[in-house]
Symmetry: C2
Subunit: 218 residues, 2 copies
């Protein structure tokens, strides 16, 4: 159980925004939220401040705070940055990763494959996440790791969409293999390229997905 209710509320609201329960432009009504969470406005307001600083919501003085979902353009931009950050992580990790960490990486990858075979998508996401988190961690740069985790988390709901495309899973697994190979070989440029491509293609697939939805709507 959390001590600060404000923090708990902030986490909940963040989750609602990530899952899309709150859409772009929705006003986050202090009173309504206070009633919903069974608290006063004070902790709700503190939670809203946190969302604003995180960039998940926008505050207009004397008007209220509104959720701010990234649009298609911003999402493509975010995927581009994510790709580059993962590339950096990979480049650094190629130099710094230990053998035991490499084993852990291979294991996560194997578990990923097993999940694909079983059709257990939850397990897949979990192991896939572990795979990437391991690479962040073994970049050997704690600050970089935190930044990577932050962006990874922010993009999470959008990555899931893209993974449903036909054949993407198998392709993704192959890319993971290549990444492990490069890391094992200590090939900085190779690891960077493999990871950049692996993530960038997600952004492109997502872009594709958005375009097709848009087209379908016309």
């Amino acid at each position: 159980m959390e001590i600060r209710r404000a923090d708990h509320i902030a986490d909940q609201l963040e989750e609602f925004i990530f899952t899309g329960a709150f859409g772009d432009g929705d006003r986050l009504d202090e009173i309504r939220l206070a009633e919903r969470f069974g608290v006063s406005r004070t902790p709700v307001r503190e939670a809203l401040q946190k969302l604003v600083v995180s960039g998940l919501a926008e505050q207009i003085p004397r008007r209220g705070v509104f959720v701010r979902q990234p649009g298609p353009v911003e999402l493509v931009e975010m995927f581009e940055v994510m790709a580059e950050i993962e590339a950096i992580c990979g480049s650094l990790a190629a130099r710094r990763i230990s053998d035991t960490a490499l084993e852990a990486l291979k294991k996560a990858n194997a578990n990923c494959q097993a999940a694909v075979d079983c059709g257990d998508s939850d397990a897949y996401y979990r192991e896939n996440e572990k795979f990437h988190h391991l690479i962040y961690k073994h970049s050997g740069n704690g600050f970089l790791e935190q930044e990577a985790l932050r962006l990874h988390r922010r993009l999470k709901p959008f990555r899931r969409l893209q993974l449903r495309l036909r054949g993407r899973l198998a392709q993704s697994m192959a890319e993971h293999e290549a990444i492990v190979q490069a890391l094992q070989a200590g090939d900085q440029a190779g690891a960077a390229d493999a990871l950049r491509g692996h993530v960038a293609v997600q952004g492109e697939k997502f872009h594709h997905l958005m375009a097709s939805i848009k087209t379908a709507a016309e």
Copy 2:
């Protein structure tokens, strides 16, 4: 004049932390701050929440919030990430920058040189900042630009230290020249390398500075 006093307070506190007026581990006493700013605890608390989310302070439930200055290790890590982010900006900008933007860049650079000649360090910092901000902007990726600005701002107080080293200013100017050349040539890798080196050397100089201070203290 700002409407929300809480935001004003947050800005002030941030400034105090950046300038070092508040040191690592200092407790940010709500009541004291409230008195100091002539307000009640409520806006102070909202400001503190913002600091915590920004990573400038740490909150321990029921204990208070404490300023959290980056240590030498984290600073080196941050410089490493900054170098890579600037490299990405440069790589993208090499493809996307316009001729007019290139002119602006050259102008900022010339102003930089003029400031060096006059010994006007404030002007130097201002123009140097403009130079880098232009590159972020012309990466063509708004999200990347924001991230770069955020980190640049956070490292600002530490960059200033390092620039006082003998000969660093002239070297820095030469690096700026090389960066402009690469951008003008559309040389992505060249721009990335030039920028990475330009920023990384700052981190190294800083590291050097820290080490010498440490040695002097022994």
